[in-house]
């Protein structure tokens, strides 16, 4: 049995590591990185909105992602179509977000972060338990819509699922939409103003409570939408929300709290570092993202795109 032991210690010398990475592989990995980064952006953008504009540390953000994925599963098996599931799911999550803001979060704006953390942590437990009671603890799959269930050949052995490309496309459209909403519209102007000075905006006669409710509902809907969009490739399983939560916070912190543009840059950066970390330094792939975060915080403590 000594052989078993020695074979394990020999792992670090496995010959595959010195293999030259050819251009085609490199480009495909770049595509992987881009695609992962865009999905991260989609989940994290809601978090950075809520965190940056309302000053709420929302640990339950991952739960909204999880709720989205489970809605995609439940509604698509009910309606038979993922598109309908997403439409219904977005409506439900906007309502859920508005309700939670009204019932719970609106009481927390002037309290300190510890109380927000306690509330949102409690929400994680409640949502997990509800999920367990309503749907159960099994793993479920969500079918890819037939229209998008194809693959494109990349080289002789590898194919790339069209649905993943579609996901990236949707993420890009949403990123552009959010940029337009926040930078170019009247609501966006109010949101930006509310983030920098709540009292002043209120005294100008803008209903800041309604505005915050909108932002929160939007944040929840973005997370749930990300969960729904990703459900066909990620599957649906207990605890899936906590997994994305941590990396989302890393995105928000690297990007600069509250900056949507920063979140996009940070998410893409993390996509690249994580993907190539797994290829070139597999032993340290787990920490690569956190090393990146530490380095960026040393260089720019406020993150890449701190709002002025």
């Amino acid at each position: 049995m000594a052989a078993l032991r020695s074979s394990r210690s020999a792992r670090s010398r496995s010959p595959g590591r010195i293999r030259r990475v050819d251009l085609a592989s490199f480009l495909i990995q770049l595509l992987n990185a881009l695609q992962y980064g865009l999905l991260l952006f989609l989940v994290a953008s809601g978090l950075t909105l809520i965190f940056g504009i309302m000053g709420i540390i929302n640990l339950a953000h991952g739960s909204f992602y999880m709720i989205g994925a489970y809605m995609a599963f439940a509604l698509s098996s009910l309606t038979g179509s993922l598109a309908w599931a997403i439409v219904l799911g977005v409506i439900v999550s906007v309502l859920l977000g508005a309700f939670l803001e009204w019932a719970l979060f609106s009481h927390l704006y002037r309290r300190d972060h510890l109380e927000q953390v306690l509330l949102t942590y409690g929400l994680i437990l409640i949502f997990e338990e509800l999920r367990s009671i309503v749907i159960g603890n099994d793993v479920h799959g969500v079918a890819i819509p037939a229209l998008l269930d194809h693959a494109i050949a990349l080289g002789p052995t590898l194919t790339y699922p069209v649905y993943r490309l579609f996901m990236s496309g949707v993420c890009i459209v949403l990123a552009a939409g959010m940029y337009w909403l926040i930078q170019r519209t009247r609501i966006g102007m109010m949101i930006r103003a509310g983030a920098s000075n709540r009292e002043m905006v209120e005294s100008l006669g803008i209903n800041i409570n309604l505005l915050y409710r909108l932002v929160f509902a939007l944040g929840v809907a973005l997370a749930a939408f990300a969960g729904m969009l990703a459900a066909p490739v990620s599957s649906v399983y207990p605890g899936m929300g906590t997994q994305v939560l941590i990396v989302c916070f890393v995105v928000v912190v690297i990007g600069g709290i509250g900056s949507v543009r920063g979140a996009l840059a940070a998410a893409l950066l993390i996509g690249v570092v994580d993907t190539f970390g797994k290829v070139f330094v597999p032993e340290y792939a787990g920490v690569a993202v956190y090393i990146l975060m530490a380095a960026i915080l040393l260089w720019r403590p406020e993150g890449l795109f701190r709002r002025a």
Binding site: L4, R8, S14, Y36, G141, G286
Partner: protein, 391 residues
């Protein structure tokens, strides 16, 4: 008033007399105390329930009483949380004073239980966790396992892969003990059979972003890929692997956990996959058929491999208790009887190794529809490595 009082007094006397006359009172002291420490909430809740059901079924089939003594159950939800494991085990050992502990699913928790069992000399039966340390350096006369050790299914698959004439392999798993024990076992037997593992890849537990690895696999073009994933990770990997177009070009192999309890979610992408495990759906032997029918009648659900492992834990304990007629104080005789027990399991009969791990057959299974169908025995009477066990 007086009449009522007299009547009451009379009733009291009658009760006292009845109590005196009752044959061999089953006082709490004399019950056999069994502590079930299993996950009843969280990711592994379904597994905890299946093990509990199987265990109780075996005890009931054995008559439910040993030497006139009833079994009293104490239950602790271990939440699959290693941080709480030592406390939870001590609750059963110190507070409830159990005679035997049964648990658990998660290897990290099971290691803490094994440690507590060693420290307090409490009898422990492990119905799932495959950590090799438990029947390795931590092995002890009072610690038993009725499931498997992590390397076992992998050793079976390594042999199968080499016999099928595959020459090169890539392995991929989460970077944690269970995963690395599994890929290590595969590598050992695959290379013994003339194959070569050209790359061993890992990713942090429990992340599921597999795309970079799939690209790597496509570039390396090995004959086979061996992976260890379970639950949500298993579903996602199998689907991603198929979606990347690799499934029909490079055979995907794994231990049974890759396709057990996940076929509903994996659907088309899992069809035809080969895995190895000590159990298979629709295993056709009389014991299994009887077990499945009885389990379904009792609990209204189909049993799975976890129910089988729980059932065998119950059978193992029953064998020991029968030998000493329920007298748990006769510890040496109890352990001796358990060590030498021949368990008639739904998976097929098995005995225990010196390290108290099952020596059993491993089946090669192919996914067909919603079932993992056995297509033969991959390796007969496989013992576990038990590296470092001095017993």
């Amino acid at each position: 008033m007086t009449m009522i009082r007299q009547t009451l007094r009379g009733a009291g006397a009658l009760l006292a007399a009845a109590a005196l006359l009752a044959p061999a009172p089953a006082s709490a002291q004399q019950k056999i105390k069994v502590g079930l420490m299993l996950p009843y909430t969280g990711t592994y809740a379904a597994l905890g329930d299946a093990i509990t059901n199987g265990f109780k079924m075996a005890i009931n089939e054995a008559g439910g009483k040993f030497g006139g003594r009833d079994i009293e159950y104490f239950t602790v939800d271990d939440e699959s949380d290693p941080a709480k494991a030592a406390d939870n085990a001590n609750k059963l050992i110190k507070r409830d004073n159990v005679d035997v502990m049964v648990g658990t699913v998660h290897s990290g928790v099971a290691i803490a239980m094994a440690k507590a069992a060693r420290d307090n000399n409490t009898l422990l039966i492990i119905p799932n966790a495959g950590a090799e340390d438990i029947t390795g350096p931590m092995c002890a006369p009072n610690i038993f396992r009725t499931s498997f050790s992590n390397a076992q299914p992998a050793l079976a698959m390594g042999k199968v892969a080499a016999e099928k004439g595959h020459k090169t392999a890539v392995t991929l798993t989460w970077k944690y003990a269970a995963g690395e024990e599994s890929t290590g076992g595969f590598k050992e037997n695959f290379e013994k059979g003339g194959g070569k593992v050209v790359k061993e890849m890992t990713l942090p537990f429990p992340t599921v972003e597999f795309q970079p690895f799939l690209t790597e696999i496509a570039a390396l073009k090995p004959d086979v890929v061996y992976v260890f994933f379970a639950g949500g990770g298993a579903v996602k990997f199998v689907k991603d692997y198929a979606a990347a177009g690799l499934k029909d070009k490079i055979a995907l192999l794994g231990p049974g956990f890759l396709t057990d309890g996940t076929l509903e979610a994996q659907g088309e992408s899992a069809q035809g996959l080969l895995t190895t495990l000590h159990y298979a759906d629709a295993l056709d032997n009389p014991k299994n058929n009887a077990f499945r029918a009885a389990y379904k009648a009792a609990y209204k659900v189909e049993p799975d491999v976890y129910a089988v492992q729980g059932y065998d834990a119950g059978q193992l304990l029953a064998a020991g208790l029968k030998a000493v007629d329920g007298d748990v104080a006769k510890r040496d005789a109890l352990i001796k009887a358990m060590e030498s027990a021949k368990i008639d399991s739904p998976r097929g009969p098995f005995a225990l190794s010196k390290a108290h791990n099952p020596i059993h057959d491993f089946y090669l299974r192919r996914v067909e529809g919603k079932e993992n169908k056995s297509i033969g025995v991959a390796i007969k009477n496989l013992s576990d490595p038990s590296v470092g066990c001095k017993m």
